[in-house]
């Protein structure tokens, strides 16, 4: 199957002023690869500060002016150039952002969903879209500050399906919601994917991601460390020690945290980024570690077969 989105070796770095006028390059995402097929939900999971949101902005071509992007993004088999993404975003490629702050605080919900269109067709469409997510027509007359957290998320999803998207990028769509509401929101995403769109779900919540994802890409300090089938988690077929630690940190799987914290961009040494926290670190891990195919997934670890149990 031809993937709808294919990202190869993507890196994003910031130009920053460091101590006066000296500029420095701050790499935030390094060598990221993933692919999403039509009808597939791919979750990118990583803790906060790992550069996940920038991945969404990078694909959409809305990075800040001081960010530089390298690597290759293919959409529908063709290179996604800045001109192409400009024509596609909001139509075929849509973003579902984090929360209510992404809505204009002084504009009513209706016109925001319709993106300023006033035609009767647009009105009918926004009505039906809101209704699909259990929101009445009166929602259109509300201002963002009058929406509850769950309503705001559903309004944001509504903006995405006003047209027929082929790729939906959801950036942390569930924080602040209770488990049931979050589950409902994710259910909506699953529906969109089942209707044929590719879905990139960016989240820090592995547990929620696993409820709808087909594949999971694990992000650590700006690098992809593993790509696995969602089924691999429960089956114990995980490849990278960080993914295993993430899995075991969930309450139902032992609630076991690992010591330490992920390094900040800029204070990164060469070699495996997880090495300082890894229970199975070898001397060879201090050198560069390639991202390679392994057992139906991908992993950035030299000794994935070790460390099934610490």
């Amino acid at each position: 199957m031809e993937p709808i989105l294919e990202v190869k070796g993507l890196s994003i770095a910031f130009q920053q002023y460091d101590a006066g006028t000296r500029q420095r390059r701050l790499p935030v995402i390094r060598d990221l690869s993933l692919s999403i097929g039509a009808g597939q939900v791919v979750a990118v999971v990583g803790s906060s500060g790992s550069g996940k949101s920038l991945l969404a902005h990078g694909i959409l071509g809305i990075l800040p002016y001081n960010a530089a992007m390298e690597g290759e993004i293919r959409y529908d088999g063709e290179l996604l150039t800045p001109e192409r993404v400009e024509a596609l975003r909001g139509r075929e490629i849509v973003l579902v952002p984090q929360g209510v702050t992404y809505l204009d605080p002084l504009m009513k919900v209706g016109p925001q969903i319709r993106r300023g269109k006033r035609s009767p067709e647009a009105r009918a469409k926004s009505r039906s879209v809101l209704e699909r997510y259990g929101l009445g027509a009166e929602t259109e007359e509300l201002y963002p500050f009058e929406l509850s957290g769950g309503m705001a998320r559903r309004v944001l999803i509504s903006t995405a399906v006003m047209e027929t998207p082929r790729l939906v990028i959801a950036d942390e769509p569930t924080p602040g919601l209770d488990a049931r509401a979050a589950g409902r929101i994710l259910g909506h995403f699953r529906e969109i994917a089942d209707a044929g769109a590719g879905m990139l779900l960016i989240t820090h919540d592995l547990e929620l991601a696993l409820t709808i994802a087909d594949r999971v890409v694990v992000f650590y300090a700006g690098e992809t460390v593993e790509e696995a089938d969602a089924a691999d988690f429960a089956a114990g077929r995980l490849r990278h020690p960080y993914t295993r630690a993430l899995w075991r940190a969930l309450p139902q799987n032992g609630f076991m945290p690992i010591p330490g914290a992920q390094p900040y961009p800029g204070e990164i040494a060469g070699g495996c980024l997880f090495a300082p926290r890894c229970p199975h670190c070898h001397p060879a891990c201090r050198a560069a570690v390639p991202y390679r195919e392994a057992d139906g997934g991908r992993v950035r670890c030299l000794y994935p077969e070790e460390g099934g149990t610490p």
Partner: protein, 330 residues
């Protein structure tokens, strides 16, 4: 509704206290002034040729023999009855003078106020939207240059260029010299108001443009503008749909707060252009120790400024949905 009334009541009380404070401050400053009203208004030579009785009478007229507290309280009780007294310099009721002069100044102030508001908003939005690029640098440079230029100096410069060198515009006054009152046209008045209004607008623009630019930058960096970009909205659409809307609230505050600056500026500008407006007569009253007139002008201008701020507060309730809907619910 009750909420609105309470709001208005509080504001009104605040206005009364403010006017009281302002009039007291003006009175104290004037009484601390080292100017001797007799020497300023009668002249040293004339005083020398007068008998002590005559001087005594003049001192009574200028209120120099009355204790400070008594003078202020006397003025205050009259003013509270609506009587602002008679100007010592002009020998006319204070309110009549203020009425005439305000009528002269009002057009000038209004044009300058609207012009600086509209231009300031347009320049600020443009600069904020092109942050760091050429239009922004030009506008910012202009604003910084103008804000560091004193208004009276700019007035003199414009006077030199447009009236003296080019001869396009009159050197001063609000009407042509040597023309019958009846035959003065509106065009004459407008013609004479161009330079003073221009000076006031040029200086007023800088402040409004710089503040609007800051707000516009905040808006352009906001998450909702990022999302609008992600949805494929063009820069034009973002500025028109989201930018102006979100800059409107602070712009209203700025615009009405700038009334005080326009009135303050008019004092100097009218002086330079010999424009017989309120600003000019304020200078006369201050330098001539004309206490009733000065206090009258102070109170009236303070009331105008306060009314401007009050209108801004009330407009907020109309424009900002958070206040509008919040008040409707309670």
């Amino acid at each position: 509704m009750k909420h609105r009334l309470q709001f208005a009541g509080k504001k009104l009380l605040r206005m009364v206290l403010l006017l009281l404070g302002v009039s007291l401050a003006a009175f104290l400053l004037m009484s601390l002034s080292p100017l001797d009203p007799l020497q300023t208004n009668v002249g040293q030579t004339a005083l020398g040729s007068m008998s002590p009785e005559q001087i005594e009478k003049l001192q009574d007229y200028w209120g120099m023999n009355t204790p400070l507290a008594e003078r202020y309280l006397g003025w205050l009780s009259d003013a509270l009855h609506g009587d602002f007294g008679v100007s010592l310099l002009y020998r006319q009721p204070v309110l009549q003078i203020i009425g005439q002069r305000l009528a002269n100044s009002l057009g000038l102030l209004f044009v300058a106020w609207v012009l600086s508001g509209v231009l300031g908003l347009a320049l600020g939005v443009t600069a904020g939207c092109f942050r760091g690029r050429l239009p922004d640098r030009l506008i910012r440079g202009y604003c910084l240059l103008i804000s560091s230029t004193p208004a009276f100096w700019l007035a003199l410069l414009l006077l030199m260029v447009f009236s003296v060198w080019l001869g396009w515009l009159p050197v001063g006054l609000s009407v042509p010299i040597g023309v019958e009152v009846g035959s003065i046209t509106l065009a004459d008045r407008l013609y004479h108001a161009i330079l003073p209004a221009l000076t006031l607008s040029i200086t007023g623009v800088a402040n409004i443009a710089l503040h609007t630019r800051e707000k516009m930058i905040d808006v352009m960096e906001s998450e909702y503008v990022l999302f609008a970009r992600a949805r494929g909205e063009s820069r034009r659409s973002i500025v028109l749909r989201h930018g102006l809307r979100n800059v409107a609230l602070p712009a209203i505050t700025l615009q009405f707060a700038s009334i005080s600056e326009i009135i303050g500026g008019s004092v100097l500008v009218e002086e330079v252009f010999s424009y017989p407006g309120l600003g000019q007569v304020a200078v006369d009253a201050g330098l001539g120790s004309d206490l009733p007139l000065l206090l009258g002008i102070t109170v009236v201008t303070a009331a105008i400024v306060f009314a401007g701020n009050l209108i801004a507060d009330l407009l907020y309730g109309v424009v900002d949905p958070k206040i509008r809907r919040g008040a409707a619910r309670s």
